[in-house]
Amino acid sequence: MSRYGRAQGALLQRAGNGQGPAAEGRSAPRARQLLAIAFMLLLPLLSIAQAIQPLPFRDHAEELRFQHLSAELRCPMCQNETLADSNAPIAHDLRRQIFEMMQAGRSDAEIKAYLVDRYSDFVLYKPPVEPKTWLLWFGPLIVLALGGLVVAIQVRRRARQNPVGNVPANDTEDDW
């Protein structure tokens, strides 16, 4: 097997689950667990090597569209990376798939739907706005509104106290 194939192999295989009983003695299982963790940590490193995938784009606009799309999708294997930056072979395959679908005239929505049908919503970096994510998308707005209310009440309460009369002509050193 070529040395690149071996690197491929390291990526494709399932890295062991990172959780392991810490109480386990220092022996082969522990070493394997560490190796698995090391592989998991390494996966992003190997990213550039295969993430670089020159493709024959028709023009710059198409290239931009591809980059944009692959940056919005999560690699199902190296899960904290985008398809654009992951070196996992599945990312390589999916990029090729996206490219072919683009060339075949599919829209962005169709391409995303294709991937979601096979890999679930999880591959979208942008959570869809649907009832199960309302808390996510509207939560901050609610926090802002509630906070704004609190601030408004406090300010009004304050302003109703003795109104501040004199305003010094210049900023003095201490009261700027």
Binding site: S2, Y4, G18, Q19, A22, L34, A38, L41, L42, P44, L45, L46, S47, I48, Q50, A51, I52, Q53, P54, E63, Q67, R74, N80, A84, D85, D121, F122, V123, L124, Y125, K126, P127, K132, T133, L135, L136, W137, G139, P140, V143, L144, G147, G148, V151, Q154, V155, R156, R157, R158, A159, Q161, P163, V164, V167, N170, D171, E173, D174, D175, W176
Partner: protein, 654 residues
């Protein structure tokens, strides 16, 4: 040096921390001077033993003591000495020791520099820091001991993850921890104030420099981490809204709110409850970050190995510390509105609005980071939250803050003068619009670039306007007190940062290309010529090194050498080559040969042109500088005459 010495030192440190945590607080409660006097010596003692333990661990790495399991796991015979030191905090156990080490640095500094503070107050502050130390030292000794032996001793060790073998990694964790852990000081001050029922807000003046310095360190740590990711992770990204990054960003955001709230309470005596609450939040988020990274509750590119036992311990610790402090707040926080009143249009209100925006941003980041977990808990399936969510909402929340920013110095305390504000708004507004129009021509339809320039000019013009105002109106030597200079520098940093982010994000060009030796490629006005690949070597790696010549208008600007390294343990890593510049970076990464066996032939390369990307970190550095400057304010320094023994100093605020 025997590793067991290190372990023993930690045990002694734990005992001293216990003494430091319990006795002085008891003493302050009972007015017992002898018990209170224990605080400083106990803190010094704890520091000595923690420093000793750290020394023992560093020594173990330097002499290749593979009988220590942690050393064997994270270093090997080929690892250079400077990275063996980095390896000390490269994994979980060592990073916890670093946490405690930095906690002791801060405690020691506080013990030394607090002579002017009233004794009961200092006793409580050091006591709280002692209790925090107890929690962490116990955690280390019972679940994460770096001094455990591995027998039989292996002849060679594992390796420090190659991505961590970089100067950035040597620097980033200690600096970040200085910030993270530094918020414990503001926290301790607040707890001490709540415990002591301090009705005057003098303690806020004492807390300010400590908070500003912590925040500045945290800023520097985050900037270092971002820069390191850009240089090391190989594909031009500098922020990914990864859970661990978010864990450091949330305390930073709350820290910004805290710094401004402290200014209000210190100068005007108002809103003390908010100031206390924000300092509790800031440190709570620091602790939360520690939890998130180590419990395995969230997946992340750079999370430490997870272990449910450790996770539970930290969770228990969080409940005690944060829960306890919030309970104390509920019971003891000042209820009566104190301090000088203010009108609706005033700096106080402006700061309250800005703080609301920053706190909401922190809450948003927390929500997004935790939402996958919420999804699992509510059985909603695996929900993915990524940069599109965070960036969109962050910009939406920060935009009003950016609009508000230039008004800050112009808003008077108590009641602002409308006329000054409108003049400022017109000046800065016109400058921003003009620059935006120019940008529209140059950047041709890149909306983000135009918006970025408009926002940055708005902030910069407003800040400059105030700088000139002070120059005109104040006599020499009194124009820019340190606190104000800090504010102006930090606010300028915001403008620089906005330019960096918006321009690099919208105007960058990236291209994956196939190049044979001699081929050229044109990007962003530059011509890249690939000159082939040859083999080269380092202390613990071998590499394929490419040579790429970058030309502009016919003249050669730079020659960069991207590498693909294979480390002594077999890991492969890409070292991208960056030609850095103030106004643009050119970035080249080497991929694979197009034919796996033909190394002399064509290779895949990724080429980037990234304008203004360095301004992102430059902006951060300005903000950091501003923080340090502000901390140097004369008003905050110890007044020799005010040192008293048992009676809290009544300092005037005006």
């Amino acid at each position: 040096m025997i590793p067991e010495l290190g372990q023993f030192a930690l045990v002694l440190a734990l005992l001293l921390a216990l003494v430091q945590g319990v006795l002085p607080i008891l003493g302050a409660w009972r007015g017992n001077a002898a018990l209170m006097a224990v605080a400083r010596p106990a803190a010094a003692g704890q520091a000595v033993f923690v420093f000793l333990a750290m020394g023992v661990l560093i020594h173990a790495f330097l002499v290749y003591d593979f009988s220590v399991a942690y050393v064997a796991d994270n270093s090997n015979l080929a690892l250079p000495w400077y990275y063996r030191i980095t390896a000390v905090w490269g994994a979980h156990e060592g990073s916890m020791l670093l946490w405690v080490f930095i906690l002791n640095v801060w405690s020691l500094a506080l013990a030394v520099l607090s002579r002017h503070l009233p004794t009961p107050f200092v006793s409580r502050v050091l006591g709280v820091l002692g209790l925090i130390g107890v929690g962490f030292l116990a955690f280390i000794l019972f679940t994460s001991n770096p001094f455990l032996r591995e027998l039989p001793m292996p002849s060679d060790g594992g390796d420090l993850n190659p991505v961590l073998q970089d100067p950035g990694m040597t620097f980033h964790p200690p600096v970040l921890y200085m910030g993270y852990v530094g918020f414990s000081v503001a926290f301790a001050f607040s707890i001490a104030a709540l415990l002591g029922g301090e009705l005057e807000q003098a303690w806020v003046r004492w807390a300010r420099p400590w908070t500003n310095v912590s925040w500045a360190f945290l800023t520097m740590g985050i900037v270092a981490g971002s820069w390191w990711a850009y240089a090391e992770l190989g594909w031009g990204g500098w922020w990914f809204w990864d859970p661990v990054e978010n864990a450091s960003f949330m305390p930073w955001l709350v820290g910004v709110a805290l710094i401004h709230a402290q200014a209000v309470t210190e100068k005007r005596g108002s809103l003390p409850a908010w100031t206390v609450l924000l300092s509790l939040f800031a440190f709570s988020l620091s602790l939360l970050g520690t939890f998130l990274v180590r419990s395995g509750v969230l997946t992340s590119v750079h999370a430490f190995a997870s272990d449910p036992r450790r996770g539970l311990y930290i969770l228990g610790f969080l409940i005690v510390v944060i829960g306890g402090s919030l309970l104390l707040y509920a019971i003891r926080a000042p209820r009566v509105a104190t301090g000088k009143p203010f009108a609706a249009l005033s700096r106080e209100t402006g700061i309250m609005i800005a703080n609301l925006l920053f706190t909401t941003a922190a809450a948003m980041v927390l929500l997004g980071t935790l939402f996958p977990l919420i999804g699992d808990a509510l059985n909603l399936g695996r929900i993915s939250v990524g940069p599109p969510y965070f960036s969109f909402l962050f910009i939406a929340l920060m935009a009003p803050a950016v609009l508000l920013l230039p008004f800050g110095p112009y808003l008077r305390w108590g009641s602002a003068e409308g006329r000054q504000l409108t003049t400022l708004a017109l000046r800065a507004g016109i400058a921003a619009v003009i620059c935006a129009i120019v940008a529209a021509f140059v950047a041709q339809g890149h909306l983000r670039a135009i918006a970025g320039i408009a926002g940055a000019v708005w902030v910069a013009a407003g800040t400059l306007s105030y700088i000139l105002k002070r120059w005109r109106e104040m006599p020499r030597g009194r124009r820019y007190p340190a606190e104000m200079a800090g504010m102006l520098v930090a606010h300028t940093g915001v403008a620089i940062f906005i330019i960096g982010v918006m321009l690099s994000e919208s105007l960058s060009v990236e291209r994956d290309v196939r190049m044979a030796p001699g081929d050229t490629q044109a990007i962003g006005g530059y011509v890249f010529r690939f000159d082939g690949v040859h083999e080269t070597q380092g202390p613990n790696w071998r590499a394929d090194e490419g040579t790429v010549t970058i030309q502009r208008d016919g003249t050669t600007m730079a020659t960069v050498k991207p590498q693909k390294r294979t480390y002594s343990r077999g890991q492969v890593q890409t070292e991208s080559a960056i030609d850095a510049g103030l106004f643009r970076d050119i970035y080249v990464a080497l991929g694979e040969p197009m034919q796996a066996t033909d190394v002399e032939g064509a290779w895949a390369l990724r080429l980037y042109y990234k304008p203004f990307v360095r301004w992102i970190w430059l902006g951060g550095l300005f903000m950091m500088l501003g923080g340090f400057l502000a901390a140097g304010e004369r008003r905050f320094r110890a007044k020799k005459a005010a040192a008293t023994a048992a009676v809290p100093a009544k300092e005037s605020l005006a």
